[in-house]
């Protein structure tokens, strides 16, 4: 075989592998969208499940997912930004900084079900928060923390040092410099990371299995202390735990459709912000 032919063949295999991945993604999206879209109606989105979840909609699950994701955001975004400010603006190269970084990288690799165990033991049992929106939101917040810290740090890092030096040289204090010269320029990057982290949290099931998600609850949660329905958990129930799985299959597809569209929209928003941000920086 000539070298030229080898190269053609080799690059062909690489291209084929990439296409295979695109094909898999296409199949996933096509199957969910084509079979799910017919189920979607105003009624499906805005009413509660009825008759043992074989009829009706997914309204409580939509609201539950939105609520729990909001708690996640309130917890994980500020702490993530603060930790990133420390790492990028204050930290010196030392053992402590290295340990913090190592901890963050390892947290990112902790399985989601282990976060569920931790949330159950800490929030539900030891802190007495019970199975609730709050416990589940905090558990997902911990899971999202490594994402928000890392993304915020990247965003801070991308702000040129001249912004800091210019302000500091005028005798302005460090915090004032961070607040008025650094943070405003890092916000698009922080936002992108936060949205990506939250879209992942919204789709997680394992961490909320024992910390607050309810099998069936035909109303929206009235306080942070009550249980809630969530889209990913609802999909799990409908496709494995329901007594007549065949009958509820269309509803399961509809739920998967709503979940995927929600996640895709969040991702597109994040990609869009990042794209605009890059363009602005390179100007």
């Amino acid at each position: 075989m000539t070298d030229n032919l080898k190269q053609k063949l080799g690059f062909g295999i690489l291209r084929l592998s990439t296409w295979l991945i695109l094909f898999i993604l296409f199949i996933i999206l096509y199957d969910i969208i084509s079979k799910g879209i017919g189920v979607i109606s105003w009624e499906f989105l805005t009413t509660a499940p009825r008759s043992g979840m074989t009829e009706g909609g997914i309204w409580p699950a939509v609201i539950g997912t939105v609520l729990v994701t909001m708690i996640t955001a309130l917890f994980a975004v500020p702490i993530g930004v603060f930790a990133a400010i420390y790492l990028n603006e204050y930290a010196s190269q030392g053992k402590l900084t290295r340990t913090i970084r190592m901890a963050i990288r390892n947290l990112a690799g902790v399985p989601s079900i282990v976060y569920g165990l931790f949330g159950l033991a800490l929030f539900v049992k030891n802190l007495g928060l019970g199975t609730s929106v709050l416990s589940a939101g905090l558990t997902l917040g911990l899971l999202t923390l490594p994402v928000t810290i890392t993304a915020s740090e990247e965003a801070l890092k991308s702000v040129p040092n001249s912004y800091r030096h210019g302000s500091l040289a005028l005798g302005v204090s460090k915090w004032h410099t961070i607040r008025h010269n650094v943070l405003p320029n890092a916000i698009p990057g922080i936002l992108t990371g936060a949205i990506l982290g939250l879209s992942r949290a919204a789709g997680e099931t394992a961490p909320i299995l024992f910390t607050g998600a309810a099998f069936f609850l035909p109303r929206i949660p009235d306080s942070l202390g009550s249980q809630f329905m969530a889209l990913p958990y609802h999909l799990y129930i409908l496709s494995t735990q329901h007594h007549s799985i065949g009958v509820v299959r269309p509803i399961a597809y509809g739920t998967a459709f709503v979940l995927i569209v929600l996640v895709l929209i969040l991702n597109l928003v994040a990609i869009f912000i990042r794209y605009r941000f890059r363009k602005n920086l390179s100007k």
Binding site: L14, S17, T18, I21, G109, G116, S173, W175, V263
Partner: protein
Amino acid sequence: MTDLRLEQEEIEISKKDKLTKYKEKGLKIFFLLNGILAIIVLAGIFYLLLSEGLPTFEEVSIREFFTSFRWNPTSRNPGYGILSLVISTLAVTIGALLFSVPVGIAAAAYLAEVARPKEREILKPVIEILASIPSVVIGFLGIVLLGPIIARTFGLSNGLNVINGSILLGVMALPTIISISEDAISAVPKEYKEASLALGTNRWHTLVKVTIPAALSGITAAIMLGMGRAIGETMAVLMATGNAPAVPRSIFSSIRTMTATIAIELGEVPFNTTHYHSLFAIGAVLFVMTFLVNLVSDLVLHKYGEGE
């Protein structure tokens, strides 16, 4: 008069300076505490897994837990051996890597070395979308789409088994493997490739003999991270592997992984029973496994990057 006033002003300024100094110091400590929280959470996870998991061994011997194949905590003669669960986890993980490692590295090489810049700019975010699909949706497709295909192809009564779980996990590990391998391949200095090309070899030869070997440590890290994800993944394997706690005899056996066992059983056990504690003990084993895998990838990736 004016001297006095100046002095007073100076005193005020130095007072203000002091205040700013305190404020600055306070803020620094506040931000540091947020960073330290990461260490506290990691240590807290390990501590709670141990404190909730260790009471298992008041009832169950350590030997039984790690070496028995029999997991049946609800039987009248309960069994608490996790070996079949561990083997099941390893089986689907290895299955996932067999498919996702070659495909993932090939795609990474394509993105880094073959694709035109415009093409790469479109492909990368598209592959990121794959990473964002919730695992419960992947598991759902394992039941409704992949399962029936497997059952039909191989003439089985149902398609919820090792091979189904392996394929799903492989798909989920792909984005991790691709993005980190691609970074590693892109980071290989241009001089290496130019030197190779200058010797008259073509681009394919350079990629296989120079670029990929030079990026091997990064690619190893990518494989380890993908492996960590596969070991810890819950929903997809819970839904698509048939839910039978037994040692797999073939790729068509139904199994139940460590993660799936925790997910299924923890919701139904009362607090502080041996069964409850034993599920935390499984969690601790899982934590240690993924921690070690991640640590190895971390060491490989950051061996030269201490100063970053």
